[in-house]
C-alpha cells in the first residue's frame, strides 16, 4: 500500500515526539496517584501542578482556574451542565444561548438540557459564513440568560467568531460567556483575558497532544456544579484520579504550540491559500464554505455541486489522500451536515462538502500532488451521480 498523505488535521493530529517523550516516565516509573500521601504520590502531584501552571501560563489565567478533563467534549459538557445547574439552583437564570453550528458536544448537550432538565435554549442566528455576530447575541440576551456559548473557531468550516465582542456584550448584561476553543487552539492565540471569556474548553489531540485529555478554564468566582462526582479532585469539580501522563502530554503539547505558533501559522497559511485559490479556480461549481479571511490558517473547506461528498472521500483515500467532509458518514446514508443548511446551501451543494486541513508535516509537494489530483476526482464523482 502506498503512503497516505494526511490532510485531516482538524480531525486529529499525531502526538509530537517531544510530547510523547515528556509523557513516558509517568506510565510505569512515576506512576503515583497525586492524592497519595507518600513521596511517589507527591511527585505525581508535582507533575500535575506543573502541567497546570504551564497551561495557565499559555492561556493567561491562574493555575487554579484550570480543570483537567478527559477530552474537549467533556470540557464542553462540564461548562454547559455545570453552569446551567448552578445558575438554575442559585438564580432565576435558566437559559442558554448557543448556535446550531457548534460542535455536537455543545449543541447536543444543550438539546438534552432542554429536553430532560428543563433548561431553556435559545439558538443564535448565524451569518452566511456560519459566524455569530454581536448583534445576534444583543437580540436574544435577557435577564434569564445564564450562559452564552459560542465556539472560537468552527471545526467544519473554519470560521473564527468575534468572541471578544460577544464576551463584552455578555458582561454588559451580567451573563457568563463560554467558548469552545478545541479546534482553534492549535493556531490561534488563546488568551482568556483578551477574549474576556469566563469558561473555555481545550482538547489535547488537536495540537499534537494525546487523545483522551482536555481542560476547562473556569474564571475564579464562577459557580459551577460538578457533573462527575466522587473524590475531590480538580477542586471538587471533576472526580477521578488524574491521568498524569496524558495531562503532562497535554501541557507540553500546548506549551510547544504557543512557543512555535508563528512558525506553525506561517507554515500552513500559504498552503491553505494556495489550495483555496487553486480549487476555486480549477473546479467548476465549487464554493468555499466559511469565512474567506477570518478562518483558521490551516483550514480549507469547500462544497462541490452534485457531488457525493462521501464518495469523493473514498476516491481521495484510494488515491492516497486522507480528508474529511461535513457529511462524512460511515454508513453511506449521507445527510448534509447541519452546518451546510445553516449557511444556506441546498442539498445539491451541501452533500458535496470537502474539508482539507493542514498540519506541521504537510509539505508544499503534498499540496501540489493533492491539487493535481482533486479536479479529476471531483469530475469522476460527478459522473457517477
Amino acid at each position: 500500500m502506498k503512503e497516505t498523505i494526511y490532510l485531516d488535521y482538524a480531525a486529529t493530529t499525531p502526538v509530537d515526539k517531544r510530547v510523547l517523550q515528556a509523557m513516558m516516565p509517568y506510565f510505569s516509573e512515576e506512576f503515583g496517584n497525586p492524592s497519595s500521601i507518600h513521596f511517589l504520590g507527591q511527585r505525581a502531584e508535582n507533575a500535575l501542578e506543573t502541567a497546570r501552571e504551564t497551561v495557565a501560563g499559555v492561556i493567561n489565567c491562574k493555575p487554579d482556574e484550570i480543570i483537567f478533563t478527559s477530552c474537549g467534549s467533556e470540557s464542553d459538557n462540564l461548562a454547559l451542565r455545570g453552569v446551567s445547574f448552578a445558575k438554575r439552583n442559585e438564580t432565576d437564570s435558566n437559559r442558554i444561548l448557543t448556535s446550531r453550528a457548534e460542535h455536537h458536544a455543545i449543541s447536543r448537550t444543550a438539546e438534552q438540557l432542554e429536553e430532560l432538565f428543563g433548561i431553556n435554549v435559545g439558538w443564535l442566528k448565524l451569518n452566511e459564513y456560519g459566524m455569530v455576530l454581536p448583534s445576534a447575541v444583543e437580540q436574544m440576551i435577557s435577564p434569564q440568560t445564564a450562559l452564552v456559548s459560542v465556539m472560537l473557531a468552527n471545526n467544519e468550516i473554519g470560521t473564527i467568531n468575534p468572541i471578544k465582542e460577544l464576551s463584552r456584550i455578555c458582561h454588559d448584561h451580567g451573563v457568563l460567556m463560554h467558548t469552545d476553543a478545541v479546534q482553534a487552539a492549535a493556531y490561534l492565540v488563546v488568551d482568556v483575558e483578551d477574549l474576556g471569556v469566563d469558561l473555555l474548553s481545550l482538547g489535547g489531540h488537536k495540537f499534537y497532544g494525546p487523545k483522551g485529555v482536555g481542560a476547562l478554564y473556569v474564571r475564579n468566582g464562577t459557580t459551577l456544579y460538578p457533573t462527575l462526582t466522587g473524590g475531590g479532585q480538580e477542586n471538587g469539580l471533576r472526580a477521578g484520579t488524574q491521568n498524569i501522563p496524558y495531562i503532562v502530554g497535554f501541557a507540553e503539547a500546548l506549551r510547544l504550540t504557543e512557543l512555535e505558533r508563528l512558525e506553525r501559522v506561517s507554515h500552513v497559511k500559504p498552503m491553505r491559500d494556495k489550495i483555496i485559490g487553486s480549487v476555486l479556480e480549477s473546479i467548476p461549481d465549487s464554493k468555499l464554505t466559511g469565512h474567506p479571511i477570518n478562518r483558521l490558517p490551516n483550514h480549507c473547506s469547500f462544497v462541490f455541486k452534485d457531488v457525493d461528498g462521501n464518495f469523493l472521500l473514498t476516491l481521495l483515500d484510494s488515491a492516497g489522500f486522507a480528508c474529511s467532509s461535513g457529511s462524512a458518514c460511515k454508513t453511506g446514508n449521507p445527510e448534509p451536515s447541519e452546518v451546510m443548511g445553516l449557511i444556506n446551501l441546498t442539498e445539491e451543494w451541501g452533500l458535496g462538502s470537502l474539508r482539507v486541513t493542514l498540519g506541521m508535516a504537510t509539505s508544499v509537494s503534498d499540496v501540489e500532488k493533492f491539487l493535481a489530483i482533486l479536479p479529476g476526482l471531483v469530475e469522476k464523482a460527478r459522473k457517477l451521480r
Binding site: 464518495f311 473514498t314 483515500d317 454508513t331 453511506g332 446514508n333 457517477l384
Partner: protein, 361 residues
Amino acid sequence: MTKVVIAMSGGVDSSVAAALLKQQGYDVVGMMLRLWSEPGKENSNRCCTPDAMALARLVAARLDIPFYAIDAKEIFHSTVVKYFLEGYGQGMTPNPCLVCNRIIRWKFLLDHALAIGADFLATGHYARLTTKSIRTSENTLNDQFLLSKAVDRTKDQSYVLHVLNQEQLKRAKFPLGDYKKVEIRNLANQFGLPTASRADSQDLCFLAGEDYREFIIRNSPESHKPGDIVNKDGKLLGKHQGLSFYTIGQRKGLGLSSLEPLYVLSKKVENNILIVGPEKELGQSDLIVKDVNWISGKPPNNVFRSEVKVRYTARQAWAEISLIKGGEVLVRFDEPQRDITAGQAAVFYKGDIVLGGGPIG
C-alpha cells in the same frame, strides 16, 4: 498489485470471500451499498441495516482492508423498487434481484469500484467463472468468459447472474464458486471472522422481513384492485383481492370452496381477472423470452436444445430453444412446466455453463 473491490454485506459469504482474496495476495478493498429502505424501516432492511454495516466494517478492519459505504438509495429506488411495483401492477411476479444485479451491483457498484482504481469487483455469489479462447473474425484469439454453476449445487446462484455480459464478467470474481457452504462456514471460523450466523433468506432486502403484499398495499395502492376469479370456461367462482397478491401455481389463500384443490393458472390484467383450475390444467409447454442476454454475446445457434430453469428454485428441464423475430426466443419444453411465471427469468444451461437468459414475457 491487482486491486479487487469486494462487495460486502456483513454476512459470512462475502466476509469469507474478502478473506480469501486477501489470502490470494490481492489489494482488497471492501465496499457496501447503502440500499433503499422504506422510511422508518431502515433497521429491519435485510441486507444493509446499520448493524450489518457495522459488522462488515468490523470484518474489514479484522482483515486490515479499507472499507467504504456507497450511497445507492436513490438509484435503487428508481430502478429496482420501481420495477418491482410496476411488475406486480402488470400482473407479473417480478424478480427484483435480477434488476439489482444488472443495474446496481454490476453497473453502479462496478463503476464505483473502477473509479477508485480497482481491476476487479468480487462478490460472495456462489458461481464460477472460467475462460476459453475463441477465434475472432479477424482471426485473433480472444478470451471468452464462461459463467457456470457453483460446486455447491444447493447454493448455486448462477441463475441471478445470467444478466451479466462479457464486459462485466471480465471484471468479475466469484471467490466462493469452488467451495461448499459448509467449507465456507469452517473458513469463517478459521479466519476468525465475526460474522453473525444469520439465517439464509429468500426474502427481498427492502421488504424488511414482511409479506410483499403489505409493501405493495402501502407503496402502490392502485394495484390493490379486487376483481373476479373464474375457471377456464369463464365461470365465476369468487372474488380476488388484487392480481398482485397471487402468483402462478398458487393454491393457498384463494378463498374458494371446491371439490378438488384449485390453483392459479393465469392472470388477465386487461380485465383484472384471475383464472384458476385443477392441478391437471396447470403447466404450459412453451414460453417466450424477450431481451435475452447471451453470456457470450450471441446465441449458440438459431435452434438448439438446452436445459432451462424458470425460477431461482425451479428444477431445470429440457427444451428446444428457437430464435424468433426481434431477438425474442421461443422455449418449447419436452414436458409441460408448472412454474412458468411472467416476470421471472428463463435461464438456459449447457451442462454447468450458463448460456444466457431473460425475462419471461
